[in-house]
Amino acid sequence: MAKLDIPLILIGALASAALLIPALDVGLGKVRNAKFSAYFTMLILAFALLILTIGGLGLVTLDSSVPNLLQNDLLGVFFGFVVILVALLVTVASFDYMKDNPNVSIYYSFLLFTSLGMVVLSFAVDLLMIFVAWELMSLPTFILAGFMKKDKLSNEAAVKYFILGALSSGILLYGMSIIFGLSGSTNLNVVLNALTDLSPNMIPVAGFGAVMLIAGFGLKLSIVPFHMWIPDAYEGAPTTVSALLSAATKKAGFVAAIRVFAVIFPLLRFDLSMSLAIIAIATMTLGNLAALTQKSMTRMLAYSSIAQGGYLLIGLVVLPTSPLGLSGLLYHSLNHALLQATAFIAVAAFRHKTSKTSISSYNGLARVMPITAFSLMISLLGLVGIPPLNGFWSKLVLFTAAADGGFAWLALGGLVNSAISLGYYGIIVKRMYMDEPTEKVSIKESFPFTAVLLIASMIIILTGIFPGPVYEFASRASIQFLSGI
C-alpha cells in the first residue's frame, strides 16, 4: 500500500495558503482578493478533508517522517477530520457573514492558521510540539474573536478571551516543565517509560504538575471552574468565530488532553478519576442550569457548549477502566462538533440578516426563514439526543461507558442533565414553529448560508440513521491508540 504522511502534507498545504492569501492583497487588490481568498480557503480545506478521509478509510499506510514529534495515527486523523470539517463549514458560512469587512483576506488567513494549529495539535506527541501547536491554534483565535475591531462587544470578548487564553498557555507550560523535570524528556512515549520508576517522594511533585496540566487544558476545554470566560467570548465574537471556537478549538484541546493524560494518569499512583468525575458532573449541571435562564441565543448556546464539554469529560474519566470510554469521547466529539457548528451558523445567519440575538426574536422563525429554522431545530434536537439524530447514539455510547467503567451515578447524572437540557432547547423549537412572528416580512436567505446549513443538517440526519461507519471509525481510532500506550 502507498504510504501517506498526512501531517506533513497538511502543514505544507495549510501554511503556504495561509501565508499566500495576505500577500495576494498586493497583487490582486483588496476587493478582488476578498472573493478569491474565500474560495481559495474553501478549496484548501476541502483538499485537507479529502486527504484525511483517505487516511481514515484505511486505503493507505499512515507514515510519519518525524515520528518523535508528530505521530501519524488514526486518533490524529479522526480529530483532524473533525476540526477541518468544522473549519470548512465556518469558511462557507463566512462568505456572506464577513462580506462587508474590509480585511476579509486576513480573516481567512487566520482561519487557515488556526486550522493548521489544530491539525498539528491532533498529531503532536511531543510536549514541545503540543505547546507550539497550542499557541498556533490560540493566537489566531484571539484576533478572530476581536475581528470586528470597531465593535466594542467584539473587542471586549477578545480582551477577556485573550487574558484567559494566555493564562491557559502559561499554566500549561508550567505543568509541562514539571513533567520534563521528572522525566528528563519531552517525548510522551519516553516520558511514559521514564516515569514508571519514579521515586515515591516525587509523587507530590508529579501530582502538582498534573493539577497544573488539568488547569491549563481545562481553561480551553471550558470545564468548571474555568468556564467563566466562555459565554462572554462567544457572545461578543463574530458568531461564525464562536462556531469555530466551540466546535473545533475545544475538540483540538481534547485530543491534546487525551494524549497527555493517557500517559500521566497511570503513573501518578493515586486515582484522579473520582475528582475528574466530580468536575464532569459539575460542568454539565452548571452549564445546563445556567443555559435555562439565558435571554440571548449565543449565550445560551455557549452554556450548552459548556454542558456538552461535561459529557465529553465522561470519556476521559473512564479512559483507564472502560474500552468504550475513548471511542465514546471520539464519537461524541465529531457529533457535537457538527451539531454545535450548525447551531451557531444558523444563529449567525439570523444575526446577519436582523442583527438580533435575543431568544424572543426567534418567535415564528419557521415562517420567516424556513431553512435556517429547520437546521436550527435539527441541531438543537441533536444536542438533546433525540433518537433518530446522531447526538443520541454518541450519548448512548458515553453513558454506557460510564456505567461500564464503574461510574453508574455519572451515567445517571448525564441522563438527568439531558432531560434538563430539553427544557431550553425545546423552548426555542416551540418559539420557532408554534409562535407568531413579530414582523410578518419574509427574509431572503442568502445562498452560502442555506447551502452549508442544508448540507450539515443532511449529514446530521444521515449519520443518525446510519451510525455504523462513523462509530466504527471512532472505535478503530481508539483501539489503535489504546494498544499503543
Partner: protein, 102 residues
Amino acid sequence: MEPLSSYFLLSLVLLAIGIYGLIAKRNAIRLLFAVEIIINSATINFVAFSRYLQQPVITGQTFSLFAIALAATEAAVGLAIIVQAFRLNKDIDVLELKRLKG
C-alpha cells in the same frame, strides 16, 4: 541548599506572584505582565531542570527558547487587542468591561 531546589523555589515564587497579579490587578497591561511572569517562571524551570538533571539534556533549553519566542508573539497580539480596547473605551480597567452580561 542545592541549586536545583533553589531554582525550583524561585520559579514557584514567580508563579505565585503571577497568579496573585492576575487575581488582584485590574489594569489589562498589568494582567499581561502577570501572564508573562508565569511563562517566565516555567522557562526558568526548563533551563534549571535541563542543567541539573542526572543526565543533563539540551531539550529543556530548546524548549525555553521556543517558550520565549511564543511569549513574545503572545504579548504582541495581546497588546494589539488592549490598544484597541483603549481606543474604544478610553480605559483599560478590565472590571469596567461589563457590557457582555447574561
